[in-house]
């Protein structure tokens, strides 16, 4: 029996011009929720109204389910089908981060809720029809046996839909709260997650554009028709989900605008036409998703800007430029 020999990953000869950069960007922004002093928010949490707490916690629980889906099903499916060691490694790292995101949401539940409340939130996830519909719809695309360019493109598109649009109904509330100075530590976790998701969304969209270009004209037309249909279905479902989450805090309309805004970003990333007209988004929320670091009080927050630096040793010329004479202590 002959086998195709298994090859090693050659990082010196990457399969494309961007995956290494993305891999380096991801790994440099590795973080763990344990770094953030979540319990700082415990007192603020108690001061929120019943409705505010409900929305906050259920928004995060919904995100937990979606990140679990991405980490467990979505990213592994893409990783399995996309060729290239470096691309696979990049997607696998993304998958791991999705699981870390899911864990962060769970840590928030654990910090702020009693065990009974916590169980109730998880039970809600199982029973919430729009959330389960969204998961089933996307899960079906991931599970679809069609692995042609078109099939793979669809899987990538739903992955991007999650990363770039469908997560944002959940993000809206924590961003708004943090913008008002409430739940600031939890807000930091959301910021770190958003930084990750932004990179994930852009990376997978680049891979999707390649698949799309590989399709012939007829297939592209078919793909666009499928995209329109899927977007319609998921958008309508998302509005209903949003109403369930946000009606009690009176924000359904605002969140709807934010969802449309993010669907437009999705279209930009995929190289497709925007679906919705531009609308005014709450600037406080918008400034919350700006992915540059912000200024903060270092003694109570960590900030989203720290990263793993590449190690490079000092060289002799680093000393020579400062101390032209011999080194301070003799070698011999």
């Amino acid at each position: 029996m002959t086998r195709t020999p298994f090859t090693a990953t050659n990082w010196s000869e990457p399969e494309d011009s961007f995956s290494v950069t993305f891999y380096e960007k991801y790994t440099s922004q590795l973080w763990f929720p344990e770094e953030i002093p979540l319990s700082n928010d415990a007192i603020v949490w108690k001061s929120l109204t019943e409705a505010e707490r409900w929305t906050y916690m259920h928004a995060s629980a919904g995100l937990n389910a979606l990140d679990t889906l991405q980490g467990e099903v979505g990213m592994p499916a893409l990783r399995g089908l996309v060729p290239g060691h470096i691309r696979k490694a990049t997607l696998q790292f993304q998958g791991m981060m999705e699981d870390i995101h899911a864990r962060s949401y769970s840590l928030m539940n654990k910090t702020f809720l009693s065990t009974t409340e916590e169980r109730a939130v998880f039970a809600w996830v199982e029973a919430q029809p729009q959330l389960q519909f969204k998961i089933a719809f996307i899960g079906d695309v991931f599970a679809d046996p069609d692995t042609s360019d078109f099939g793979l493109w669809r899987k990538m598109v739903v992955s991007c839909m999650l990363e770039t649009a469908l997560f944002y109904s959940g993000f809206y509330y924590p961003l708004l709260m943090a913008g008002q100075g409430r739940m600031v530590s939890a807000g930091e976790i959301f910021n770190l997650i958003i930084l990750d998701e932004a990179v994930h969304g852009v990376y997978v969209a680049l891979l999707a554009q390649e698949r799309f270009e590989a399709l012939n004209d007829a297939q592209q037309a078919e793909a666009l028709a499928w995209f329109d249909g899927a977007l319609d279905t998921l958008y309508r479902n998302e509005l209903a989900y949003t109403d369930t989450l946000y009606a009690r805090v009176g924000l359904t309309e605002d969140v709807g605008r934010f969802i449309r805004f993010n669907f437009n970003i999705l279209a930009d990333n995929l190289g497709l036409e925007r679906r919705f007209p531009d609308e005014d988004i709450n600037p406080v929320v918008l400034n919350g998703i700006r992915t540059r670091g912000t200024t903060h009080d270092f003694f109570s927050a960590k900030g989203s800007s720290y990263a793993k630096l590449n190690v490079e040793p000092l060289a002799d010329e680093d000393f020579a430029e400062l101390w032209p004479e011999r080194p301070a202590v003799a070698h011999d």
Partner: protein, 695 residues
């Protein structure tokens, strides 16, 4: 959603920065929030009566003055027709400094009221109060937050919030005592530096049993938790820093506690970490050699000496040669590389170059400088204390800790005043009053330091905003010349004011006798050269000012020898936060981080366009991350020559930098004579930048 927050956030939401939204936010905040919700009184007398009866203002302050004088001070404050120039400034002031009703629904004080009461509380005569209120309202200088927030109030926190504790010596009584001091100070919102190098390392012996001790991390974890627990009734989490020597066997363990991937039991969430770096370590780095790190308990058993009493550079070779002392060998460059890796991941540790700090220590007769504070600008000699168990307190020995009270000159307004000497004199007299009004009886070594040393720290802020307004690039030769001339003049006036207080009151700090102040050594540079402007551009900035000459200095040195000084230290440049927003200045003497800053706090996410930001000044508002950091270090080095304590110096690097970039900055800072480096800040490469270089 509050309308002013939304308007303020709108500054960034268009395709270009539109600062007119900030002006709208400012107006909306006053007309819709502050003005309708301020309690008013028909007359000042009724207001004072109400505020003192309700226990808001301290009646003792008003008992010192005739009501006519009180009125004169308030009238003077209101006569300047003060207006905030940014939403952020007003929002900060009214949400953090102005006193509100207990339900926090209405304001009891306006800006002018707070400053009038501060002036009255911090003065002993109406003339002094009138002078002080003039400076406070015109913001030629601004007191540190606790002084501005708490002055003249009946029932509130302390006037100072910066403490250094060296009493964490290596026994359980001392450790628990230190923890209780930290809790006590943290309760009042203090920032506390704790020196921990005397603690025995992990795996040393305890009562003769080998390999059992938990090391520095055990104590550090307790401090970390304690500071978050005692949080000034939730108003502000306590904050602290430990200082640990790179020569300590636990140093690398403690560094790991700030890394991203670290075990939960070994993680320090909010406690800051500072590294004390002796010259001998830097020599080993330069030579590319190994260095020994020492086990303090073994060191104590072999030599009878505490870790912090060692002069590492002088005694290193002898200690290495002593076979009875347990030690471990590591590459000095690897240790420095670990420091850089950890700074990248967390911003920490701070670095304290012990050799640089002690080379110019003006009072070596009192002791050596072994540690710094939470913001790495306070540098004073400390002496350890020893504490004993309950019932044996009589054996306690109270050492010397540090309590420091701070204020910052606003460079733009102090220069515009035309009389820097007048500004600095008023600031020093106010700080002197803060020191005299403070007595932290709960922490004896802090109280002793304040009573005997009376140290103060006058700093400055708004360097970059001043330079941008005058169209001078940060770190340029003209900017460095300005810094040199400005801080030389500030030093002269501050020292002179300290001498005048000693002369007029007879109080001379303990340790003046035998100090380098008394010998004149500390002032040598001023007697051999003039610190006057050399270029016409810089001379123009100081137009109308009387700058001190060599002759003035010679006279001052004589006066100091004759009368002494009231304060062991007079200057320190802190990293200003809230007060720089209130004073419409960029922070400290650092470059700005963003032309329009997004700031997250537990009040709101707010947007702050830099002072005077316009198409004209934009070019001079280069952002810190885009600069070669040697320009920042050069700026700090120019100021450091004139500052008896330290300067908080932050490094700003893009995340694409490597550990080598950072280490080269450490070396440069060390070579330039900087005493400390504060944290390192990173700016992530944005996805757009990633894409544009990759795709």
């Amino acid at each position: 959603m509050e309308r002013w927050i939304e308007l303020n956030n709108r500054v960034l939401s268009g395709t270009h920065i539109d600062t007119s939204h900030d002006a709208q936010a400012l107006r909306a905040y006053f007309t819709e929030k502050v003005n309708p919700n301020t309690v008013t009184f028909p007359t000042l007398a009724e207001k004072v009566a109400y505020m003192t009866e309700k226990g808001v203002w301290d009646p003792a302050v008003f008992a010192r003055y005739h009501p006519r004088d009180v009125k004169a001070v308030f009238q003077r404050a209101y006569s300047y027709d003060f207006r905030f120039r940014s939403f952020m400034g007003a929002f900060k002031f009214y949400s953090e400094y102005a006193t509100m009703t207990p339900d926090r629904q209405q304001w009891l004080e306006r800006f002018e009221d707070r400053l009038s009461v501060t002036a009255l509380a911090r003065s002993s005569s109406v003339e002094e109060a009138l002078e002080l209120v003039h400076h406070l309202v015109n913001q030629t200088f601004t007191p540190a937050t606790p002084t501005l927030m708490n002055s003249g109030k009946a029932n509130t926190g302390r006037l100072v919030s910066c403490f250094l504790l060296q009493d964490c010596t290596d026994n359980l009584d001392s450790i628990t005592k230190t923890l209780s001091f930290v809790a006590e100070l943290s309760k009042g919102g203090g920032g506390i530096g704790v020196e921990v190098s005397n603690l025995r390392a992990r795996g040393e012996s305890l009562r003769g049993i080998q390999n059992v001790t938990k090391g520095v991390m055990g104590v550090a974890k307790m401090l970390d938790n304690m500071l978050r627990y005692a949080d000034q009734a939730g108003q502000r989490p306590g904050a602290g820093a430990i200082y640990l020597s790179v020569m300590h066997a636990d140093f690398l363990d403690t560094l790991s506690a700030k890394k991203i991937a670290t075990d939960e039991d070994a993680r320090l969430k909010t406690l800051s970490v500072g590294a004390t770096v002796p010259d001998v370590f830097m020599q080993k780095v330069r030579a590319g050699e190994d260095i020994y790190q020492f086990y303090p308990h073994s060191l104590f058993q072999a030599t009878g000496r505490e870790f912090t009493s060692i002069d590492w550079t002088r005694e290193y070779d002898a200690l290495v040669a002593n076979p009875d002392i347990r030690k471990k060998r590591v590459s000095a460059r690897r240790v420095m590389e670990e420091i850089a890796v950890t700074q990248g991941e967390s911003g920490y540790p701070y670095l304290l170059f012990e050799g640089n700090a002690n080379a110019v220590n003006p009072i070596p007769n009192v002791g050596t400088i072994k540690m710094s504070n939470l913001c790495s600008e306070i540098l004073q000699p400390t002496l350890p204390s020893t504490f004993h168990a309950y019932g044996k307190e009589s054996q306690d020995q109270v050492g010397l800790d540090v309590s420091c009270n701070l204020a910052s000159l606003v460079i733009e307004q102090s220069v515009a005043s035309g009389d820097l000497g007048r500004v600095v004199r008023a600031a020093v007299r106010m700080l002197d009053d803060v020191a005299r009004s403070t007595s932290i009886t709960e922490v004896p070594a802090v109280r002793r330091a304040n009573e005997e040393m009376r140290s103060i720290g006058l700093g400055a802020m708004g360097l970059h905003s001043f330079l941008a307004k005058n169209e001078i690039a940060y770190g340029s030769p003209e900017a460095l010349e300005f810094v040199d001339v400005y801080f030389a003049a500030v030093h002269y006036h501050a020292r002179r004011a300290s001498m005048e207080i000693a002369r007029d009151t007879g109080f001379v700090f303990r340790g003046f006798e035998g100090s380098r102040y008394q010998s004149g050594e500390h002032f040598a540079q001023y007697l051999t050269q003039d610190f006057a402007p050399r270029t016409p551009e810089v001379a123009a900035l100081f137009e109308g000012h009387q700058l001190p000459t060599r002759e003035d200095w010679a006279q001052l040195v004589q006066d100091i020898q004759a009368h002494g000084l009231a304060h062991s230290f007079v200057m320190a440049i802190a990293p200003t936060g809230s007060i720089s927003y209130v004073s419409n200045a960029s922070a400290s003497i650092m470059p700005i981080t963003e032309r329009v800053e997004t700031r997250t706090s537990n009040k709101a996410r707010t947007i702050y366009p830099m002072p005077h930001l316009s198409e004209l000044t934009e070019w001079f508002y280069e952002e810190a991350y885009d600069m070669d950091q040697r320009r920042v270090i050069d700026t700090v080095a120019a100021a450091q020559k004139h500052v008896d304590q330290g300067i908080s110096c932050t490094l700003f690097i893009p995340s694409s930098a490597t550990t080598r970039t950072l280490q080269r900055y450490y070396l440069y800072a060390y070579a330039k004579g900087l005493k400390t480096l504060y944290y390192t800040r990173l700016r992530k490469v944005s996805i757009d930048e990633c894409l544009s270089c990759a795709v």
